[in-house]
Symmetry: C2
């Protein structure tokens, strides 16, 4: 571990990391989060009856914000609906994983993505004798919605109550990285059975908390110069020090397809993750390219099947590779 | 008008205004928006049978974004749920106004704020003979929700179909000010019968479009310096040149109560609006202070009445003052 630590020091100056965490406001509910994580990992590290060790994946989802004021009115945001993280969480649970879902408040949740957008209340009437009635024309739609909702709620309840799904929310880049460190500390004891799936859109730059004005920025005069510091590359720290045995998948989103694969390959090498999922903003729901040392794999959603999502074959591929990674150590 | 124009030139350099609009990407659907506005103003400028001229208020609502990239992944946002603008729109319609609702996509809408947060689907079952059934324990709640929803939908439909409510969405600061200019041009012909109610959280700073990188900012090395230009004070331009006869209410939100009233008084004087609604972030749902030349008026929600909103007495006060403003011209 000493060697690992000194490597970290070489590549990501510890002063940057220290200064990021020192500059962050204290994490609320840190004790409560640690307690939940401890329980979750304990429950999932006991070997179940079938003799197979439970695998745990931490799925990060949604964008982090960078506050520009301490009492936050203005902030820099990263666009992300959280759909990829929420959908992937469902596929991981289906594949038998337990999931720590680290998500941006207000973004997509697993088992909620198929809820109808239109208010369901539209479909109902109250009769003269004060009974609730469904418009006959809507009966089939409502029935399907109720059945699907029931089934999804049940899966969600099973996962949460059964201890296979732990949801932890964040808003700012500070909360995100503070909680991520707590998660990494907890799951590191699961060794190779743990996976990280970094689907969140994480800010690259931040304003150190102590440089933020307490109150709203005043716009009295002239242009405003903001100096944003780089957010330290925590994935590389996580790989080397926080949870070095965990299987790590990071994401690269670009709008320019010409530089996408080169950037993904660079991230693979620099952060020493196991795979990088490269996606372009405009086509990300249909296709991603998984970049690995062994070569690139194009993963596409099955367009012949209505409602098929690219996350389904993507998670399938990653679960396979994770299995191989676990076996490697066994021999 | 010449004098007015030269004053504008003195206080808000026209070069700043020109450079803002020149730097903005072209507004999509500009022709369609202009057509809708023209129709709306025509419909509302004919004297109805009761002889009273229809009053028109433009309510702005929600926060504007400042893109940091042309194909926008990262942006600066202003926190605002849009609740104040949506609720105020309902009270203005109730008071007989026609409303142009200029709102941030995805924020609160009039007549939608009371929809239940929990999925209504929870309340339903499908019986063995394939009928939809309400859980008996939920029947009253569901009935109330359906009745309220019906009543609100009807008000919404009446307002939209009846031509008293025109909704126009925005996302960026560019769209917001471009559409605002179109609105001001249209309603200026209504003279004193028009009102502007600036409840939106508008960015004070922006990055000129041509300085934005087309693609995602690259985070390769070192800190990032962003120079933000000041957004020209368009309210003062609107007051003096775009719609000089309209009754104008602006808002001042601060987190620091010590400077709030001084800032509001300064805005009143500088932008030459008729009233400024001063509100503090933490208490804004209970109390606002209306700052005017004639003195300050504290407006509070009626806490004795469940569900009472501060927007109700606020809009009542503004309608009174608007009436007085219209009468002033008549004598």
């Amino acid at each position: 571990m000493d060697a690992t630590h000194s490597e970290v020091l070489q590549e990501t100056p510890s002063v940057e990391i220290k200064s990021f965490f020192d500059s962050a406001p204290p994490l609320k509910d840190a004790d409560e989060i640690s307690r939940k994580l401890k329980e979750f990992v304990e429950r999932n590290s006991s070997t179940p009856e079938n003799g197979r060790v439970t695998r745990v994946v931490c799925v990060t989802s949604g964008g982090t914000t960078v506050p520009l004021e301490q009492r936050c009115v203005r902030y820099i945001d990263n666009f992300s609906s959280g759909h990829r993280g929420a959908a992937s969480t469902e596929y991981f649970l289906k594949a038998g994983y337990s999931v720590i879902f680290l998500y941006r408040r207000g973004t997509c949740q697993p088992y909620c993505s198929s809820l109808p957008d239109d208010p369901l209340l539209e479909c109902f009437d109250i009769t003269d004798d004060s009974k609730i009635q469904v418009h006959p024309s809507h009966a089939e739609v409502v029935k399907r919605a109720i059945s699907e909702h029931r089934a999804r709620c049940q899966l969600n309840m099973q996962a949460v109550v059964g201890g296979n799904l732990l949801k932890l929310p964040f808003t700012t880049i500070f909360e995100y990285l503070q909680i991520l460190q707590l998660i990494a500390d907890s799951v590191s004891k699961l060794g190779r059975s743990a996976m990280f799936y970094f689907a969140a859109a994480v800010s690259d730059f931040y304003v150190p908390w102590e440089l933020l004005t307490e109150h709203k920025l005043q716009s009295a005069s002239g242009p405003l110069d903001i100096r944003l510091a780089q957010v330290p590359k925590m994935i590389s720290v996580l790989r080397k020090a926080w949870a070095p045995m965990a299987f790590c998948i990071s994401f690269k989103l670009e709008t320019d397809s010409n530089i996408l694969l080169a950037k993904a390959a660079m991230a693979l090498k620099k952060n020493k993750v196991h795979m990088v999922v490269a996606n372009e903003l405009s086509t990300r729901k249909d296709e991603v390219i998984v970049v690995a040392k062994s070569g690139n794999i194009v993963v596409r959603r099955d367009k012949a099947q209505p409602g098929a999502e690219v996350e389904s074959p993507l998670v399938e591929l990653l679960v396979d590779r994770h299995s191989a990674y676990i076996k490697e150590a066994g021999v």
